[in-house]
């Protein structure tokens, strides 16, 4: 039990989510009789959910800072239609269109960030207004029509990596990415262990690290195998690659950089952050701007995948992204959450969607199930915190062995934290 905890760095929440995700995959793999873990289905899953996961990356930062963004679906749709028109009517090449789309996202984000950060209007209101404005703008600009995009633009939404090198029977670029990922994971784990040792911090036993590496690398290699053995011409999908780059970049920004620290600080206690010299207005502005930037990107990927922009693109995306973030362990009141957690939360939802679809469950029941999963995941989190942050494993073992007494002051103190934290 302790070893398991060490395996996941004591982060029981993250462990819980990974555990749930793996359990879900195994469950569906069994009940769909092996139709879940096929190359085609996994590639499909990534293609069909990458834009929601991209939104979740931006959304978790917004939520950590203590805000919310309801406009992302509309912003995505508006950027999508504008880019489609740039390319079709103005005859711009696709890459200029993409750049202009990103720029447009930044402009919209600056608009919303201005109201939130410098005027002080709650983000809920600003983005509710943005949801209406940009949905309307999408339909106004596109005259509520479907606007097709050329094939080279579709590459960012549904493209595959070009094959190269010797004929191995696998897709070479996918294999290369998988091997690089494995090498990177091993390298960084060893380096962080060495650093921790040098500082005299407590490090887990060597076998824990080895086991962790074996599990993680095994998972990566298995995924690589799935992606590399699809029907000829397919590979790890381009939107998946974009997503992977964003996860790495934003994961790094949120956990390792000064601005990342400032986002958590503003969300955790704005006044304390300001009295420590953090410019909270700037942080809020950047976070809101970044969200619309990513929404624009997600909108373009979606247009690329569906080969055309339409008046109802992105309806309900904000809710999917927000759900992913909360399943991933973020707190409504801000200050808590991780990029990787949100991605896992988003994947839980995606796998659930996909698996239920494969089982032939209707959209009605699927929604009910997804709703319950969201509720249970967050309820579980709240429960865990009121119980003095016990691990899942600890809870499973509750009735075995020594009874675990909760110290009273611990509960009163965690209550204090929770009243702010959840």
């Amino acid at each position: 039990m302790n070893a398991l905890k060490k395996l996941f760095g004591g982060n029981t929440r993250q462990f819980g989510m990974i555990f749930a995700l793996v359990a879900l995959i195994v469950f569906f793999e069994i009940f769909t009789e092996g139709r879940t873990l096929t190359s085609g289905n996994v590639i499909n899953l990534f293609n069909g959910n990458s834009y929601i996961l991209i939104l979740a990356i931006g959304m978790v930062l917004v939520i950590i800072a203590g805000h919310i963004d309801l406009s992302v679906g509309s912003v995505a749709a508006f950027v999508g239609v504008c880019v489609s028109l740039f390319i079709r009517d103005w005859g711009l090449p696709w890459y200029i269109g993409v750049l202009m789309g990103l720029g447009l996202g930044v402009l919209i984000g600056a608009w919303q960030g201005f109201w939130v950060a410098y005027v002080g209007i709650p983000a809920f209101i600003v983005t509710l207004s943005g949801m209406l404005i940009f949905r309307g703008a999408n339909q106004f600009v596109g005259k509520s029509n479907t606007i097709p995009v050329p094939a080279d633009f579709q590459y960012i939404g549904s493209g595959y990596l070009a094959e190269f090198g010797p004929k191995t029977g696998y897709n070479n670029p996918t294999m290369l990415i998988g091997l690089l990922a494995v090498a990177f994971v091993i390298f960084s784990e060893i380096r962080s262990r060495r650093n921790a040792k040098k500082l005299g911090a407590e490090v887990p036993e060597a076998w824990v690290m080895v086991l962790k590496l074996v599990l993680v690398c095994g998972a990566i290699l298995y995924a690589t195998y799935l992606f590399a053995t699809g029907r000829p011409g397919t590979s790890f999908p381009v939107p998946g690659l974009i997503l992977a780059v964003l996860i790495i970049v934003y994961g790094f920004i949120s956990s390792k950089t000064v601005i990342g620290r400032h986002i958590y600080a503003v969300g955790g206690n704005r006044h304390a952050a300001e009295l420590s010299g953090v410019q909270s207005k700037k942080v809020n502005f950047l976070v809101m701007m970044n969200m619309s930037f990513l929404a624009g990107l997600a909108g373009m990927i979606f247009v690329g995948r569906s080969t055309a922009s339409g008046p109802f693109d992105g309806v309900g995306w904000e809710l999917d992204a927000i759900a992913a973030v909360f399943i991933g362990g973020a707190a409504v009141t801000g200050g808590v959450g991780t990029v990787i957690g949100s991605i896992i939360g988003g994947l839980v939802m995606a796998v659930l969607n996909n698996g239920l679809q494969l089982l032939g469950v209707g959209a009605d029941l699927t929604q009910i199930i997804k709703g319950l999963v969201l509720l249970i995941a967050v309820a579980f989190d709240v429960y865990n915190k009121t119980q003095g942050k016990k691990s899942i494993v600890g809870m499973l073992m509750k009735n075995f062995g020594r009874s675990s007494e909760i110290k009273a002051d611990e509960t009163t103190q965690t209550k204090e934290v929770i009243s702010r934290g959840i």
């Binding site: 650093n195 040098k198 500082l199 005299g200 911090a201 407590e202 390792k256 950089t257 000064v258 601005i259 990342g260 620290r261 400032h262 958590y264 600080a265 955790g268 206690n269 006044h271 304390a272 952050a273 300001e274 009295l275 420590s276 010299g277 410019q279 200050g335 808590v336 110290k407 009273a408 002051d409 611990e410 009163t412 103190q413 965690t414 204090e416 934290v417 702010r420 934290g421």
Partner: protein, 518 residues
């Protein structure tokens, strides 16, 4: 201890060797309290002595099982699970911060959570009759329909007591009931307590106003450093204020402070003609033409009553983080500074440790190491990337040098005791390496042992040649720590006294009058 029924006056309450621990602090150690039925019993002690903790144990805020020892109430050992359970037994506590809802009426507040109902519907007619009765008993002449927000604090206090009477209270606990009241409201409240005593209601009062206690209490239990020191019978023992103080303090003033030989240099920091307006109310000044200076290596105290404008002055100087700046100049080493934001103030070598640790000083979600570096991330970052190794090393260094009690620097700050939290906050500001450090109530809510250590840290900072400003409500603390003390009254600096000419009396005089010294 078989004295339960042998006394002439029966006991309504006996708390036997109560011990209550928080992580790192023993808040109560073997405390005993014996309250006779029908008396007014006072509990006296310094801030942080454990009075409120004891009352929280009694009223079930800290439920049975979280402390050791027995509560014997009406001859039975009680095991209160929560406040409801203790209220059910007739024990009602009225906290310093009143638990009334401003938008609701007096009547609605009195019956909140205890509404008289008839088949599930609130019977307002009965509520009105009963609240009129209750208001008469507490001597409050107000329409029961008046919203709470429209009556003053003194009257609100009476509503709280009416609410308690409605719950057929047998033991009424009042925590600092007169702290926010003026003279005549206080007197009314004290008279009311005597009246309740006449009706057989036992009261426990916690108060810092010793003259009031002397006036109404029958017995006084003194608590010091989490231990019950003695119980005095006011009439039999001929107790006066000096006698109470002797019990509360229990040691000479000097021993509360580490030895310190000040090394004072030239003027380092100076504020001139400082005027700041209230953030919301137009035309109201929170700082009126204030002038002060601090020398290198000097500890300067700021004394003033609550709301006098001490914090406002400090925060407005610290990067205009409070109020509307109107005019004034700040100099460091003779050069004028432009401090328009907190960032600029920190960069210019200022630090400000807030009085409100939990809501303004700490992100309670953070761990110790992240908090320690949070005001000076730049120092441990390269190209905007935080070096986690340096972060750990810095936090570890301060943990050792300030002797913060924690399993590791990766512990969440929410889990630390007040004294250790304050050490983390001090570490955070020491890491910004300020030349001028402003400490606002640096020992609020901290136990005596940790206070001594914090004083040592403050003196060490001064010895390093920093200019230190200490704002405190506790005059003994200012007298023991400061080399010079400014007094503030209604936003204006009314005087400055050197260590050797300052006393509680002389400071109090300046803190309560607008007299301007030359």
């Amino acid at each position: 201890m078989t004295s339960l029924n042998t006394h002439s006056d029966p006991l309504i309450l006996e708390m036997r060797s109560i011990t209550k621990e928080f992580p790192g602090v023993k808040a109560l150690a073997d405390v005993s309290l014996r309250v006779k039925a029908g008396e007014i019993h006072a509990i006296c002690g310094e801030n942080g002595a454990g009075k409120s903790t004891l009352m929280k144990v009694l009223s079930g805020v800290y439920p049975y099982g979280t402390y050791t020892g027995d509560i014997v109430y009406q001859n039975e050992v009680q095991e209160f699970k929560d406040i409801r359970a203790s209220e059910h037994a007739g024990i009602v506590i009225i906290h310093q911060e009143l638990a009334l809802i401003p938008e609701l009426s007096i009547m609605e507040n009195i019956f909140l959570g205890n509404e008289p109902t008839k088949r599930g519907v609130i019977n307002w007619a009965e509520a009105r009759t009963r609240s009129t009765e209750l208001l008469a008993r507490v001597g409050l002449r107000e329409d029961p329909d008046t919203p709470i927000k429209e009556i003053g604090v003194g009257k609100q206090q009476l509503v709280e007591i009416a609410k308690a009477l409605n719950k057929s209270v047998k033991l009424l606990i009042l925590d600092e009931p007169t702290a926010a009241l003026n003279e005549s409201d206080s007197q009314h409240l004290l008279d009311l307590m005597l009246g309740l005593k006449g009706r057989g209601i036992t009261s426990i009062i916690i108060s810092h106003k010793l003259n009031e206690i002397e006036q109404i209490a029958d017995e006084i239990t003194i608590i010091r450093d989490g231990k019950s020191i003695e119980t005095l019978n006011v009439k039999a023992d001929g107790v006066d204020e000096d006698r109470i103080i002797k019990g509360m303090v229990g040691r000479t003033l000097e021993s509360r402070f580490p030895d310190h030989e000040p090394k004072i240099g030239e003027v380092l920091f100076e504020v001139k003609n400082w005027n700041v307006g209230h953030p919301q109310i137009q035309d109201r000044l929170v700082c009126k033409n204030s002038n002060f200076f601090v020398r290198r290596g000097e500890i300067v105290g700021f004394a003033g009553l609550m709301g006098a404008g001490r914090t406002e002055l400090a925060r407005s100087v610290f990067g205009r983080s409070y109020g509307r700046f109107i005019s004034g100049h700040v100099y460091k080493d003779g050069k004028e500074l432009q401090l328009r934001s907190v960032r600029q103030a920190i960069d210019a070598g200022l630090g400000y440790v807030t009085e409100d640790r939990k809501s303004l000083g700490l992100n309670l979600l953070d761990d110790i190491k992240a908090t320690t570096v949070s005001a000076n991330l730049r120092k441990i970052s390269k190209n905007f990337v935080v070096d986690a190794n340096k972060e750990y090393a810095v936090a570890e260094e301060y943990r050792k040098s300030l002797r913060t009690k924690t399993p590791s620097v990766e512990e969440g700050v929410a889990k630390l005791s007040g004294g250790n939290q304050q050490k983390v906050v001090l570490a955070k500001w020491m890491f910004t390496d300020p030349d001028v450090l402003i400490l606002d109530e640096p020992t609020r809510g901290i136990d005596v042992g940790a206070k001594y250590e914090i004083y040592g840290i403050i003196q060490k900072l001064a010895n390093e040649g920093k200019a230190v400003i200490v704002i405190s409500s506790e005059l003994p603390e200012l007298l023991g720590l400061s080399d010079r003390i400014y007094t503030i009254f209604e936003g204006a600096i009314t005087g400055v006294l050197n260590k050797d000419e300052a006393s509680q009396e002389s400071l109090m005089k300046l803190m309560t009058s607008a007299r301007k010294t030359a």
